[in-house]
């Protein structure tokens, strides 16, 4: 029975991915991509990786979806007419001459997939590091092995990944050539939207806090909580409370860097005390991990809201240029 469910799920995921790639209209692609993200999240649950499933759903289907929709709103009105003409021309002139290269490409891809399948099939029984992590779990300060690996055994990787999120934000700034957010205009006048946002903000906050706390014992943690809190920032921005743009610059930077910075300074302190980087005293490991996770979630939430605020603003500026010319 479970084999049938897994098989159907695998087929569904691949089908949705292909449909998303091949859909003729961008809007369809984006909505199929949501569905694909959810199918993947289900697959992770079937693989008993609930932590990954929550992150997958939150990032792939949630945050990326929001960014895609925002991009769609900015660019879709300008694309279709041109796109259809181009596509018609393309299909007329190119189909024949591209037949052979396409055939080789697909054949090559198929061959690659077959070899990959064989490689995966033949993986010897290894067992991984699960046993090692289990043995040392009591010394880690938390009961959830995933949190123990992420925040203690391999905290260095997680710390660098937090750096990657910050670099991603800097990259958005760099590509937009921007230094600051634009000061916001009038708040949204839609009363229904405002009411909905006012209702959802505390709910999301509490749910995020819950995920953060539960990460100590079960699936959950900083990344999942950070995405939920980031959703608050995005909702508030859409509702006309762009707090990221309104707060003083130093405060914004503090929120963005506090996760990465505190983690590092703490690591340096323990190093100065004679240990290694990120070597917590076992007695305080639990509480230190909770503090680090809370600050990390704040930074992740700030970075996600900031990325959205910036992209949203770039889109609005493009609209203005459009309307003036």
């Amino acid at each position: 029975m479970s084999l049938i469910i897994d098989g159907l799920l695998a087929i569904l995921a691949i089908y949705l991915a292909l449909q998303s790639l091949l859909a003729p209209r961008l809007t369809q692609s984006v909505f199929l991509f949501f569905a694909f993200g959810l199918a993947l999240a289900l697959a992770w649950i079937r693989l008993a990786a609930v932590d990954v499933a929550i992150t997958e759903a939150a990032i792939a289907a949630g945050f990326l979806g929001v960014l895609f929709l925002d991009a769609l709103r900015d660019f879709a009105p300008r694309i279709p007419a041109k796109n259809e003409a181009v596509q018609k021309q393309y299909s007329k002139s190119q189909t024949k001459s591209l037949f052979l290269p396409r055939l080789t490409l697909w054949a090559g891809l198929g061959l690659f997939l077959l070899i990959a399948l064989e490689a995966v099939w033949k993986i010897p029984e290894g067992g991984g590091l699960t046993a090692a992590a289990g043995t040392l779990l009591p010394e880690s300060g938390v009961e959830n092995p995933v949190t123990a690996v992420l925040l203690n055994f391999r905290a260095y990787d997680t710390w660098l990944e937090m750096g990657v999120i910050l670099i991603g934000l800097l990259a958005v700034f760099a590509a937009g050539g921007k230094m600051a957010y634009r000061k916001p205009g009038v708040a949204s006048q839609d009363p229904l939207l405002r009411q909905v946002i006012l209702f959802f903000t505390p709910v999301l906050f509490l749910f995020g806090a819950f995920l953060l706390y539960i990460g100590k014992t079960g699936p959950g943690g900083a990344f999942q909580a950070g995405v939920l809190w980031g959703a608050i920032g995005i909702l508030l921005h859409l509702g006309g409370w762009p707090f990221i743009a309104l707060m003083p610059r130093w405060l914004g930077q503090l929120l963005l860097t506090v996760g990465l910075g505190f983690f590092l300074v703490l690591g340096f302190l323990f190093m100065a005390a004679g240990g290694a980087l990120f070597e917590y005293p076992p007695a305080y490991a639990g509480i230190l991990i909770l503090i680090i996770e809370t600050l990390a979630a704040i930074s992740i939430a700030a970075a996600l809201s900031a990325i959205f605020a910036l992209l949203n603003q770039i889109g609005e500026e493009a609209d203005e240029i459009e309307s003036t010319t």
């Binding site: 055994f153 391999r154 990259a171 700034f173 760099a174 050539g177």
Partner: protein
């Protein structure tokens, strides 16, 4: 590896630049430049002290979090890592100095592009982390840090050409990362460990290992722009701002090469065959010829320099066939291993200095002329003596004429080729040098030619020209400590090692 002496330097080499990058975010454009330059100087000093420590104590390690591998992550500075960290520090500090003046002139009103300095420090930390890491998954994370900050730097100017090239660069970099990660997942699945030293002992040959080797190699080849995955490099490197082009071409691509070298020599020995070495050698040889020819055909300076990078990276791949021995040859009888390794290391270092100098000079010329079409280089010698000299010296090093570092690299490569009897690589090295001479002398001929019409050279700060010249001179000076450097490297376990493939047996590698 855990028995080696521990030291705080590996942790500091990653932590300090990231701390400074984070701090710099709190400042405006001008403050960021100050923090960035100070951070560069501090990181360079720290790198040099760390290297001194390695010469004194040998390989040092840092066990992060106090958790022994394979569960935890281990950082190590062995002589090979120390040499790469030293190259990064020396070339990096010159590029920082150049960037300091460059942005002050270019963005005089705003004080510079504010994202440059934090991104550059993040990139520096990521590269240090990459050289230090002894863990397959951690290497993936450092590749992410390096890749994303490199792409962000490449699009810094905000021009359409840079953004288009940057997007292509990003897609290539992500494809490379995913391929690498897929391979790492296969290795972890079959061995349950990610530690490079342990993997070298426990990895079993088989279909899974061979496929992991294939996708990891593919991923890293994409990242280091090895032929035929070089398509993203020329547009991305030539469209970036001058200091960024120098960073990307001189330093960033060497990161993926370093991982490839380490993994082939330390992990995948069980799956490598003589043919695999020849195959990657062919990719390198084609890159040398194709890249040099393309460089020769370009009409704008930055595109010449960018295509030249494709070729110079090809020489690095040509080291691999020499390190994988023919069936029946033992490591002890292979006297070409040491020259081959020396060629590889010297090619990495001399190209870093020469290419950085070349790109920085190109930036000076763009600043003076407003464009970089080479016909306007006429009478460069009369107008900008120092820059002309920098281009000449860097060019000589790229060709491989004595007494430059490039000569050392190509001479040692030829020595290795003839000692190993793989004579078929020799014509490639010579043709590559001839073609390189072609485009370098074409530039120099124009630089000495009398001006046809008066192109107006706007004044450029002398300090910029001096930095570019110093880097070009550096590509010559690195020859002097050669004896010391090779002696130092020979205390590294991996330097001078070769792989003895056993050809008989099963269908996959050395069963």
């Amino acid at each position: 590896m855990t028995h080696l002496p521990t030291s705080s330097f590996p942790a500091l080499l990653v932590g300090l630049p990231i701390l400074l990058a984070t701090l710099s975010l709190f400042f405006g454009s001008k403050g960021r430049a100050v923090v960035g330059l100070a951070g560069s100087l501090l990181t360079t000093a720290l790198s040099l002290i760390a290297i001194a420590e390695v010469t004194r104590r040998g390989t040092v390690i840092h066990i992060l979090g106090g958790w022994d591998p394979p569960l935890g992550i281990l950082l190590r500075i062995d002589p090979l890592a120390a040499v790469f960290i030293g190259m990064l520090a020396l070339v990096g500090v010159f590029i920082s100095l150049y960037a300091w003046w460059y942005f002050r002139v270019r963005e005089a009103d705003t004080g510079g592009l504010p994202q440059f300095w934090p991104l550059w420090l993040f990139l520096w930390a990521g590269m240090n982390g990459l050289f230090l890491s002894n863990d397959l998954f951690n290497l993936f994370v450092t590749l992410e840090v390096v890749g994303i900050s490199a792409v962000a730097l490449a699009v810094l100017s905000g021009k359409t050409t840079a953004l288009t090239a940057g997007l292509r660069y990003l897609l290539a970099a992500i494809t490379g990362s995913m391929a690498y990660l897929f391979g790492v997942a296969l290795i972890y699945g079959s061995t349950g460990t990610l530690d490079i030293s342990l993997l070298g002992q426990v990895l079993e040959p088989g279909a899974t290992t061979t496929f992991a080797l294939l996708v990891i190699t593919l991923g890293l080849m994409i990242k280091m722009a090895g032929f035929p995955f070089h398509f993203w490099l020329p547009p991305a490197h030539s469209a970036a701002l001058a200091p960024v082009s120098a960073l990307l071409s001189a330093l960033v691509v060497k990161g993926a090469f370093y991982i490839l070298l380490r993994l082939w020599m330390e992990v995948f020995g069980v799956s490598l065959t003589y043919a695999a070495g020849q195959l990657i050698g062919v990719a390198g040889a084609v890159a040398v010829i194709w890249g040099s020819w393309q460089a020769f055909m370009q009409t704008s300076l930055k595109l010449i320099v960018a295509h030249s990078s494709v070729a110079q990276l090809g020489y690095l791949l040509m080291v691999f066939p020499l390190l994988i021995l023919a069936p029946g040859v033992t490591t002890d009888s292979a006297d070409w291993l040491s020259p081959a390794w020396t060629a590889g290391i010297y090619q990495v270092i001399s190209h870093a200095f020469a290419k950085a100098s070349f790109f920085l000079s190109a930036g000076i010329i763009i600043m003076a002329l407003g464009h970089d079409r080479i016909e306007s280089l006429r009478n460069l010698v009369g107008n900008m003596r120092i820059t002309a000299m920098a281009i000449g010296l860097a060019g000589v090093s790229l060709i491989g004429l004595p007494p430059s570092g490039g000569f050392m690299a190509k001479w040692m490569l030829l020595k290795g080729i003839f000692l190993s009897g793989q004579w078929w690589w020799a014509p490639v090295v010579l043709t590559g040098s001839l073609l390189t001479a072609g485009y370098v002398f074409m530039l120099l001929r124009l630089a000495f030619a009398p001006a046809r019409e008066m192109d107006t050279f706007r004044p450029v700060p002398k300090s910029l020209e001096v930095v570019a010249l110093l880097l070009a001179i550096g590509s010559f000076l690195i020859v002097f400590p050669a004896d010391f450097l090779i002696q130092f490297l020979e205390s590294s376990a991996v330097f001078g090692s070769g792989i003895e493939p056993i050809m008989e047996g099963g269908e996959y590698g050395n069963n």
